[in-house]
């Protein structure tokens, strides 16, 4: 896959810049006034989860299963607050029926999905759900935008926020496994 040239000449600086995409997402949460973030703990989202937990403007809600987050989003919207959900692709499968709340009532929803079961996946058990995550979301009425390059995260998340909250739409941003990086099983 073609990549943009690195902006920095230093490998270390470039590496730091490439790993700062969770900060870009958090900055967008701040820009659009996200007040509740529901999540199931996930390695790919660990930095973003920490940023949200440390942000006094955000109520962080750790969920036992991702479908709880759909109810949370609906309740937040009723109460006048914007909410976002963070989950792994496997969690999308846990949400399918509950998502009907979003569609039947026209609640805005923004989900940031870290992908598993694709590029350099070590665990084949992640593949069945990972390979149907995007079409499953589309069947559920979500607009989906995929990001492979860390430099694109800010733009795509900004666009997704504006579409979700500007139009009461359901938007999922798929953060590809190549963006997140290999899971290191020896660590």
């Amino acid at each position: 896959m073609a990549r943009r040239p690195q902006k920095s000449t230093s490998t270390r600086a470039a590496s730091a810049q490439r790993s700062a995409w969770p900060d870009d997402i958090h900055a967008q949460f701040t820009r659009v006034g996200i007040r509740q973030v529901g999540y199931v703990p996930d390695a790919g989202h660990s930095r973003l989860i920490a940023l949200c937990r440390n942000d006094p403007a955000i109520a962080d809600v750790v969920l036992t299963t991702e479908e709880e987050g759909v109810g949370l989003v609906a309740g937040a919207a009723l109460g006048g607050q914007r909410a976002a959900l963070l989950m792994q692709s496997s969690g999308v499968g846990n949400c399918v029926n509950m998502v009907s709340l979003l569609r039947i009532c026209g609640f805005p929803c923004l989900i940031l999905v870290t992908m598993r079961g694709e590029f350099a996946e070590f665990n084949p058990w992640q593949v069945p759900m990972g390979s149907i995550t995007e079409p499953a979301l589309n069947l559920c009425g979500f607009l989906t935008y995929r990001v492979d390059d860390p430099d694109d995260v800010e733009d795509v998340v900004a666009a997704g926020c504006d579409m979700a909250f500007g139009g009461n739409l359901s938007v999922a941003i798929l953060l590809s496994q190549r963006l997140i990086g290999r899971k290191h099983w020896s660590d």
């Binding site: 809600v61 036992t64 709880e68 109810g71 609906a74 309740g75 109460g79 006048g80 607050q81 039947i104």
Partner: protein
Amino acid sequence: MLERRQFVARLLADRGHLLVVSGLGSPTYDVAACGDHPLNFYLWGGMGGAAMVGLGLALAQTDRAVAVITGDGEMLMGLGSLATIGVKQPKNLSIIVLDNAHYGETGMQPSHTKAGIDLVAVAKACRFANAALVTDLKHGENMRALLHSGRGPTFIQAAVKTDDLPRVLPLRDGHQIKHRFMQALGTQT
């Protein structure tokens, strides 16, 4: 054993600014039977999600009391949400389970509570500040006051009779229910 609609009517008496979320099936009909209200958010689907809708609402509206009124089957499907609520400790949130120990909408099959699964014990284990089993209407007024006390999270398991009551059907259009609720609450943008 309680008459379900008598108990709900007692809970919703003098409701003031109380925000109500009702779980699909009989609890939605019970809440509607007590009088339609723009600050009722009637669920007709999303089984297992009522308590979490209540949590999102309670976190967004910390000055308002929020009551989720649902059934035993609906609560059992979202049992993990009691743990999630326990983590956040919302003082303004109450979960009321109208427990007839059966799945009334689907032919009265026995639910887990019929076999002795103890929802109050679950709520206590999930750090609810108040968790009570109510079997007599004489405790209705205390429970009503608890909803408005700001000392939650509160969990009330109301043991209700298995009577098959006439359905009272409120609004079904999800957009309409949402808009009406948000207009009344002042959160419509």
